[in-house]
């Protein structure tokens, strides 16, 4: 860009147009993640040619989607200026609610699924409501709910089901129809594709539209960018933030239902630590930790990077122990690229 500004004056007008187009592209929040994703894709395509086969790619996408569904909700929440450390275990809480309720009362599985949705949204609501009432940092509030949910998952599962895993609900009414929705396998042109991929893509499209083309999207950027300014011009700050936490709850419900119906039981101790994967995906995707900046598609690319690193190591026949190292390196590189790009586009 510095060479362009030194161009001869005769070409100036043309160059100005070109420059603003380029800086417009570089100004996008997800550009760092996109560059990282392309580099990683080429890297694995070279070291593990099997990576390029359609079936492997579908597996990578599936792995990405199980992080990506949550990363979308978490990315929106981070743009709104808040964290949710309870997002990982809340997924399991949702799945446990559905399975334990239907099993204990021997009801149709769909009733459990409906109740799980209510519980997931309620967890989000409570997180947001406590945050807005107490004005404590969301880090503390959701750390507390994280601990409480972790304990509740273990204790209630043992109390109701008598084991660390929820009892199997495979034979119960409604199981197969719920499985068809939340954990279905499609075969498209000979490639095995799982339903969470479609849920993920739909979710990214929907949230991108909300974020960029609706009032609520404007409010999300505003409450994350400057809460006081937003309040002063009449943005409903409290309900926007509570809504964002409930959005994370909704995503948790979607993923929880997939986890439940992909098998027929849930391990009550799972989910711990996943909240960081969602936050990492959002940050790799260009969301600022301080809020007010980012995109839903960025979170999706972040999750895709995660999926590629996760499965790519397997296809390259390396020891999976290396995965966390890779993830850390990607996080560092992507955020540095984001920072550099952001500074450059601000300088123009």
């Amino acid at each position: 860009m510095s060479t362009m500004s030194q161009s001869p004056p005769s070409l100036r007008d043309e160059r100005v147009g070109q420059r603003s187009l380029l800086s417009g592209l570089l100004g996008r929040p997800e550009i760092g993640a996109l560059v990282g994703a392309v580099v990683l894709f080429i890297f694995f395509a070279i070291v593990a040619p099997v990576f390029l086969q359609a079936n492997s790619f579908a597996t990578v996408l599936y792995g990405s989607s199980t992080i990506g569904i949550m990363a979308v909700g978490v990315a929106l929440l981070m743009i709104g200026g808040e964290f949710d450390l309870s997002a990982g275990v809340a997924v399991i809480s949702s799945a446990l609610t559905a399975s334990l309720f239907s099993w204990y009362f021997s009801t149709n599985v769909w009733i459990g699924v409906g109740l799980a949705l209510v519980v997931s949204l309620a967890i989000g609501f409570v997180n947001g409501w406590i945050l807005m009432k107490t004005k404590l940092p969301s880090f503390i509030v959701t750390l507390a709910t994280f601990l409480m949910l972790t304990g509740l998952n273990l204790a209630l599962t043992r109390l109701i089901g008598g084991s660390v895993a929820s009892p199997s609900i495979a034979t119960m009414d409604g199981f197969s129809s719920a499985q068809a929705v939340f954990s279905n396998d499609f075969t498209i042109a000979g490639v095995d594709v799982k339903s969470p991929i479609f849920i993920w893509i739909l979710l990214v499209a929907l949230t991108s539209w909300i974020l960029l083309r609706t009032k609520v999207g404007n409010w999300i950027f505003a409450v994350g960018g400057d809460e006081n300014a937003a309040r002063a011009v009449g943005v409903p700050v409290k309900w926007t933030k509570i809504g964002l936490f409930m959005g994370v709850g909704f995503c948790g419900w979607l993923l929880g239902m997939h986890n439940l119906f992909a098998f027929d039981a849930v391990q009550s101790g799972e989910g711990v630590g996943n909240e960081f994967l969602y936050i990492i995906a959002a940050v790799i995707g260009g969301c600022l930790l301080t809020g007010g900046y980012g995109s839903a598609i960025g979170g999706a690319i972040g999750a895709f990077i995660f999926g590629m690193a996760n499965k790519g190591i397997v296809y390259a026949q390396w020891n999976p122990d290396w995965f966390k190292f890779f993830l850390g390196l990607m996080l560092l590189l992507a955020t540095i690229v984001n920072l550099v790009v952001k500074r450059r586009s601000e300088l123009k």
Binding site: S20, W209, R213, T214, K215, G217, N218, W219, F221, A222, G225, D226, N228, A229, A230, R231, A232, V233, G234, V235, G292, Y293, E346
Partner: protein, 298 residues
Amino acid sequence: MMTTNESELLAHPPAPLMELENVGKSYGNIIALTDVSMAVDAGRVTCVLGDNGAGKSTLIKIMAGLHSHDSGTFKIMGEERTLRSPREALDAGIAAVYQDLAVVALMPIWRNFFLGSELTLGRGAFKRLDVKTMKQTTKSELARMGIDLRDVDQPIGQLSGGERQCVAIARAVHFGAKALILDEPTAALGVKQSGVVLRYILQARDRGLGVIFITHNPHHAFPVGDRFLLLKRGKSMGYYEKKDITLAELTGQMAGGAELAELAHELEELGGHGELVTEVQAELDGKSGTAPGDPAAT
């Protein structure tokens, strides 16, 4: 200047846009404001002057709906009201432009312009932002204020302090504000930028708005103001029409005559700058004209 205001005043009915009578506010056992009375008329500028901690921000917060007053009466268009949220104030036609929380720095100018009052197309689940109209309106409204922007898509944080103030003022004018509260709009600005903002204040006045201009600088207040309310330690120190007061008196009142004399004396004892002491004394004696740094005198 006076003649246009007077003819405008004759054209308007006497019921003021806003009227405060003995308004007070306390936070717990801290009394922030007592017995403050003032009026805001359409097409006139009411200046609120006071030093730090004088109660200026409490007064703004009451008028802008961020806090409710707890004694006295607050009338809007002759009707007694207690505002409970900024939204209520906006619906009543009162818009506040704050010094530092007017805008969200990372958001594009046009998104900031319409924040909280977005234009939409379609209905129900398909209701979406009318991006094209919003961008065009932002550009034309800013052009009417005399700001020509290359790109309304750039983050507002990239604009200068004066330009940001003007975007916020243009926004309030566009959304049909009848009364405009400006909180220290010139405090963080240089001489030239302050002059630009003062010009917009007059432009807003000429468009028939009642302007409440809060400042601690009498040199900024005097050239544009029609009325002056002086606050000190939460109390009203005086409420003047422009014809009843001079800039020198205003400055003297603001600093507190006795305190200023004491300050001049102390400075002299310490061997301080002779010029400063004479200047302060000249202002005390009411002999100084406009200050050298007065941008709106040109």
